[in-house]
């Protein structure tokens, strides 16, 4: 089984541009359709937020992610990315309802987006320019310092800073940070 996944990932990464493959193993929305990730017409940045249904740190960030969505989704395109192949469409719908997510969700079972966004764990985010240039990838904020070591409140909201800069068309100051969370390599 494991080998099969690796092979699929290799092929889909190489052939990302080929629609036939993108439909079977590339990222899709919950209806199974490929999506237009970048807003080339309207110059809005895109943010991908990688989550896992059974990752406690990722789940604990739901209220913060919803806040960012509520404040910034009119100026940026938000996607919630489920990269665990075991997360079926039904499981994802249920998870979103439980945690109150209303954004568009994507399935990325072959980790095409994971690699594209250079993320390692959940929760982790990537901000892209409207033309698809990776401007930021890393943690949501600096609340978690290590496993089991969290500050009561974050002192830096890295994703929000990067996203607001991208929305304003300003340069993103910090291009990457290290996120603490559940390793995506485990669900390849």
């Amino acid at each position: 089984m494991r080998k099969a996944y690796i092979v699929a990932a290799v092929i889909s990464a190489v052939l990302l541009a080929v629609p036939a493959f993108a439909e079977t193993s590339g990222p899709t929305d919950l209806a199974g359709k490929t999506v237009q990730l970048f807003d080339t017409n309207h110059s809005k940045p895109t943010v991908l937020i990688f989550v896992r249904t059974d990752c406690p740190i990722s789940n604990r960030y739901a209220p913060e992610l919803i806040r960012l969505y509520n404040e910034l989704s009119s100026n940026a395109i938000f996607y919630l990315v489920y990269a665990d192949p075991a997360n079926t469409v039904e499981v994802i719908h249920q998870h979103m309802a439980e945690y109150g997510y209303t954004f568009t969700a994507l399935r990325d079972p072959s980790h095409v987006l994971v690699k594209f966004a250079k993320v390692r764990v959940t929760p982790e985010a990537a901000v892209f320019s409207a033309r698809g240039q990776l401007l930021y990838h890393g943690r949501i904020d600096n609340r978690y310092v290590d496993f089991g070591k969290a500050m009561p409140q974050p002192t830096r909201r890295d994703l929000e800073e990067a996203l607001r800069a991208a929305v304003a068309g300003k340069p993103v100051q910090v291009a990457s940070t290290t996120a603490i969370g559940c390793f995506l390599a485990d669900v390849q």
Binding site: R60, Y99, G148
Partner: protein
Amino acid sequence: MTRLLLRALCAAAFSVMAAHTADAAPAITFYRQIAPIIYKNCAHCHRPGESGPFSLLNYDDVKRRATQIAAVTKRRYMPPWLPEPGYGDFVEERRLSDAQIQLIQEWVKQGSPAGPIADAPAAPQFTSEWQLGTPDLVLHVQQPYQLSAGGPEVFWNFIIPVHLKTTRWVKAIEIRPGNARVIHHASVIVDRSRSARRREKSPGSGFAGMDLTVAETTFDPDSTFLAWKPGNVPAPEPDGMAWRADPGMDFVFNVHLRPSGKAESVNPAIGLYFTDKPRTKFAMLMELEHDGAIDIPPGERDYVVSDDFRTPLDLMVLAVYPHAHYLGRLMEGYAMLPDGTRKWLIRIPEWDLNWQGVFHCKKPVYLPRGTVISMRYHYDNSADNVRNPNKPPKRVRGGSQANDEMGNLWLQVLPVEKGDQRAVLQDALMRRLYEKYPEDFIANFNLGDLLLSQGKAANAIPYFERAWKAEPRSALAATELGTALASASRMPEAIQRFQQALDLDPKFTDARYDLASAEAASGQWEPAANGFRQVLKERPDDAKAREHLGEVLFTWGDELAGAGNPGAAVERYSEALTYRAEDAELHTNLGVTLAQLMRFKEAQAELVAALRIDPSSETARKALAAVQAQIKDK
């Protein structure tokens, strides 16, 4: 991608080579080496319904977390275990050896192979029901707590009335957190005087608060820790160490909750297991602390809080419960024996409030009389302490709120000498407290209580006066001062204190009861009767109040009858009967008084009732004869 594949191929080639070169060193597989470690140390919490956020019950579960497991075990974040090995041996220990951790790292490096299933150990078996079997009594919270999706950690208290008809001995308690994934820690506090429920806005609503003090009016200190933490395995008390549960008492269920990202309902339950064997061994919880000395400047990296206590008795330490809030770092508890040797009780190199818990000693630690028990706690109030609740750091003082700091080392101790030695220990503890804080409420209050329990009421008075001075808003202090004054026969002052207590807290039923008792003792029947009536409104099942109200009405009736007011006397006697229906003397006096009012038929009925209860009553018999003669004449 190619590189990754290459690495995987190399690893495979290497393991093939390794297998060829060293037949005796087989590859690490899940079923052979890893599963036993996971099943024993992780699965207890990582299973459905328990505190672990995901299950670790089979190969697929573990495989999906392999890198994660390697990372968190390497850091010793999991399994969570605070005490340093070699500084105390504890029943609860759930800690991996260095070799086990290394094995997990190697296994993950090798691609986390399952291996032949024939090697699989038996899958762990757990019950989702009560672990100790069906409890004799199950108690639920009155209103579940609704935890919001985000925000800070919450410390919540539920009041759980303990519905019992008679006193029972409890040999075990099992706490079911209800929603284990959001509960970090829970403890049950026995509240015999139902003092905590007065902090609720409405009955059953609960209240917020991290650490709380429960007021007790009698000396019967708790003997055991009633606590739950993730991975908790409930255990019955040792023989002879059952603890008492009284009708009418409350449990205060204190929980530390952490939001999970979605709204959660928290609805814990408690199961009690009774025994017919009463307590024969009097263990006691005692505390080292110096919260009053805590005053940590901002930026201070190593602030030490210490306390020392010389034990007046030979003691066995059965369990240890260290406690601090977010600034605590290194925590040490040890004992210096009279011969100069040091025995460690516990050492926690890096404190984390989230994993606090009670640690039961595998073998009781013997401390002879004269041993000095010490705590040395180190606090870090710098910005480098990630758990520091204040950014930037602020001055932090001792206190029970989450932003205050605490330093407690609780011990469960059992005096070696037979019988109840707790008063001797309590006396020494309170003297130590008094030494630390001469004006302190608890020191003065408890010393006063101790003296009162020894019948030294007059000596107790100054302690209670100081306690009340320390906490002028404390209705309890005013009440206990009143009790001491009443016991020293200073009744008018006692009455005044009880009235002041009720001014401070009109709902404090104990004070109302004491006031009514003092008024009754002073012959003030009317206010005494009104007082007891009110007590019964507040506590309808209070047998003592019923008995006393009956007594007051009876005596009041006698006084009215003697003063030539039989009409009023009959009213008192009749009301008294509500509470003393089986009192032959009361029936007799009521009968005689009714006869004086020429109400012979009613008098006859009362006297017949008196004789039914006590056929030997000469007075009733004679009165009945006279009444019956009157009825005949008519």
